[in-house]
Symmetry: C2
Subunit: 314 residues, 2 copies
């Protein structure tokens, strides 16, 4: 199958390219390298079925040419501003990079008769709630521009799916960890620790608690949802089993990469930044009914990700 | 109170301006007159507490100047592409007129310290479902760009409410009828009948069934929700009691304005246009718990609206 991966040089995108190639697909990877990094895909650049283009999804002309040239059979749209904290200071950033890129992809698909879309969404569409969230939970009241722009993108996908003939999978990602991460808590903590091994600043009070998923388990979820796509719109939640607090993550990072007597300093407050959802939990039974099981529990995923990053680099 | 009404020369906006002035507020009405009409507000133009400006909400500079000059204490954001059928042919129209105008208003409010927002949303955020819809129903899977853009606007309001200190009412309108309508089924049928009194073309099979609300009852709902706003985000559903089919509306229009032997011709299919939701029903108990009661049942509202339009003109 001829597949387009947008944001394919990013953390999750690059792992997805690996797996799609392993499956024998032909992969066109585009990335504007804003968050994505060439070194995440450098090992693929000699692969005969891999093509990389440094381009922006919002460049209509380039995107249209690519669609016209290749004749894609499916699109995995992962290009996004995945750095939630950065988005809160500039509401237009997430609007453009998360929602408008999605509309651009949908319009190109419609113009060129491409019928299958995968979309990377997020738990942040729900905002702050203590419910266990299944796919049809409500209300959806995002508290970050990241969450709002992803919810808006979902709404546009719904229209193209229900009214304009595109079939789509929306997978609402949890916190994902692993090597090649370009941001996120493990990335931040390891970077800080490198600068100052004796003291580690941790955002919030350390009690924020979320389910973490190792990237390979997420790619399994993406592929199983893709394979079993049926009907116009297919929404799923993926998460590791259990959850992990920020303090536990900090302890794991310090145990693996600290100085032996690293002191944790918490900035305080119940969240890392305005718009951070301090805790959520997912009901993933819909995805599990397709046969998906995460290999690692949340805290194991964090521990494994730290090991991998320290072994192979970011 | 110094109040801004965007889309104030439109159907609902102009009725709202009337009522806000009756209550003793000072009203600034802006409208780009794309769908709004000067004659909807011409009777207010000599009112000492009324100011009208022909301007576009998307003109940042003009909007910023107005906010800086007046020092608004509240904003009713009704400017929108309310013509759903028109939106389906051009996905960017609703994006701009419904979502981006809302973001522009929110940003101006934040920049100028305005804390209270009313937003006109819609049942179309839900898409097609046979559930009785309460405010926290899900899933939200719009099938029109109109519905998607309004859901996207709601998502952005949620962020400004929960994270940036604005208090908001979101009222999801049903189908609203009355004099000064600029589009909609009664408007369409009466216009067609004027051209050809002997035959009336009706979109769909006539079985589409929705709750209709007379505009005065809607304005009551807007004002009671506004008065009782508490906490960051307050979402309500408003609808008349019962519902009315398209065939019933056509019969009422023909009985009032037909030739005596007008023939109905149905275009067929279960909906008026792609993206039309053929039937929905609302649970309005949350709004009723504030003390709101519609004066007219759905079919009475349609009948009264036809009478009013034939008496006072569109």
């Amino acid at each position: 199958m001829r597949i387009l991966v947008t944001g394919g040089a990013g953390f999750i995108g690059s792992h997805l390219c690996d797996r799609l190639l392993e499956r024998g697909h032909k992969v066109w990877c585009i990335d504007n390298l804003r968050l994505g990094r060439r070194r995440n895909i450098v090992h693929l650049e000699t692969h005969p079925d891999f093509w990389f283009g440094e381009m922006d999804v919002l460049n209509d002309a380039l995107l249209g040419n690519l669609f016209a040239e290749v004749g894609f059979e499916g699109v995995f749209h992962l290009a996004a501003n995945s750095d939630i904290a950065a988005g809160i200071t500039n509401g237009r950033l997430d609007l453009e990079l998360n929602q408008l890129t999605t509309i651009a992809v949908l319009e190109a698909m419609q113009a060129h008769g491409v019928k299958r879309l995968f979309f990377a969404s997020t738990s942040a569409v729900f905002g702050e709630t203590d419910k266990i969230l299944h796919e049809d939970s409500a209300p959806l009241q995002p508290i970050s521009f990241y969450g709002a722009s992803k919810l808006a993108a979902e709404a546009y996908i719904s229209v193209f799916a229900h009214t304009l003939g595109i079939n789509a999978v929306i997978l609402r990602f949890p916190n994902v960890v692993g090597e090649r991460a370009t941001h996120g808590i493990i990335f931040d903590l390891l970077r800080k620790l490198k600068t100052n091994p004796s003291e580690l600043q941790v955002l919030g009070d350390g009690k924020q608690s979320k389910p973490y998923l190792y990237v390979r388990d997420l790619i399994d979820a993406i592929l199983i949802a893709w394979d079993k796509m049926s009907g116009p719109l297919n929404t799923y939640h993926a998460a590791g089993i259990g959850s992990t607090t920020v303090r536990e993550i900090a302890d794991i990072v310090v145990a693996s990469a600290g100085s032996g007597n690293t002191r944790l300093v918490f900035t305080g407050g119940d969240r890392g930044w305005p718009g951070d959802v301090p805790t959520f939990s997912y009901d993933t039974s819909r995805l599990q009914s397709l046969g998906w099981r995460p290999e690692r529990h949340s805290t194991d995923a964090v521990r494994y990700a730290v090991d991998r990053i320290l072994t192979v680099g970011f």
